[in-house]
């Protein structure tokens, strides 16, 4: 199998780089690239304690598969790709997204990793609500999926 994509209910299961390494392992790989995104403790001067990730599950999985297939077609048809994203309440330090790529060469491995990250941010219906140390919380602004022709 070339692709693994999943939304992980973070309160029930952790996203593991070991699992990603096992999935992408191959003797054909000259390069393995792992990107780990984490919940950080600060944003715009506010002390963050956690983030809640909301997601439209079916549409997210569809978008993950499309993005990864496009990445294979664009950069390396023989690459192996692992992509998991958190859903639910994730405390500071927890993994929010993990992308693992095994490829014949380093350039493709780096490029696929970066491509997937940027496309997920712009295509996958996932939302972040930050929880702050002062007890307040806020949904973060993002990228509109409204058809461009309609936006004036």
């Amino acid at each position: 199998m070339t692709l693994h994509t999943a939304l992980v209910k973070i309160e029930e299961e952790k996203i593991s780089s070991e699992k990603a390494k096992k999935f992408i392992a191959s003797e054909k790989n000259g390069a393995e690239s792992i990107f780990v995104g984490k919940v950080r403790n600060e944003n715009n001067g506010k002390k963050v304690i956690a983030v809640t990730y909301d997601a439209h599950d079916q549409a997210v999985i569809k978008s993950f598969q499309l993005i990864c297939t496009n990445a294979l077609n664009k950069f390396d048809k023989n690459a192996k790709i692992f992509l998991e994203h958190a859903k639910g309440y994730a405390s500071v330090g927890e993994v929010s997204i993990l992308i693992g790529v095994g490829s014949g060469h380093r350039d493709e491995a780096f490029k696929i990793c970066r491509y997937i990250l940027e496309e997920v941010k712009h295509q996958s219906p996932i939302w972040k609500k930050e929880h702050y140390a002062d007890g307040k919380e806020e949904w973060l602004p993002g990228h509109s999926l409204r058809p461009k022709k309609e936006v004036k």
Partner: protein, 88 residues
């Protein structure tokens, strides 16, 4: 007619429940739904973070596909509101 709007992200502020029932005139389209949402938000919520939602949100059909402003809604239809996204 009435539709059920499944709420995601910042739109969850609109209800304690997962969905919001919205009354619309017969033969309404997504554009009409945006107008009604603007009215609901201005009447019930004095939150600046929701003001732009009807303008910036996309809507998904039950097939999880983006539907445009001319899409005609049916009575009891179940659609999703997709506020601007930002995972990762």
């Amino acid at each position: 007619m009435e539709i059920q709007l499944k709420l995601y992200g910042s739109s969850k502020i609109l209800s304690e429940k997962e969905t919001l029932d919205i009354q619309l005139p017969n033969n309404s389209d997504i554009k009409k739904l945006r107008d009604i949402l603007t009215k609901i938000i201005s009447e019930k919520y004095s939150r600046s973070d929701l003001e732009n939602l009807p303008k910036t949100a996309a809507f998904f059909s039950e097939k999880d596909e983006v539907i445009d402003d001319s899409y005609k809604l049916s009575n009891k239809e179940y659609i999703s509101i997709i506020p601007p996204i930002g995972g990762g």
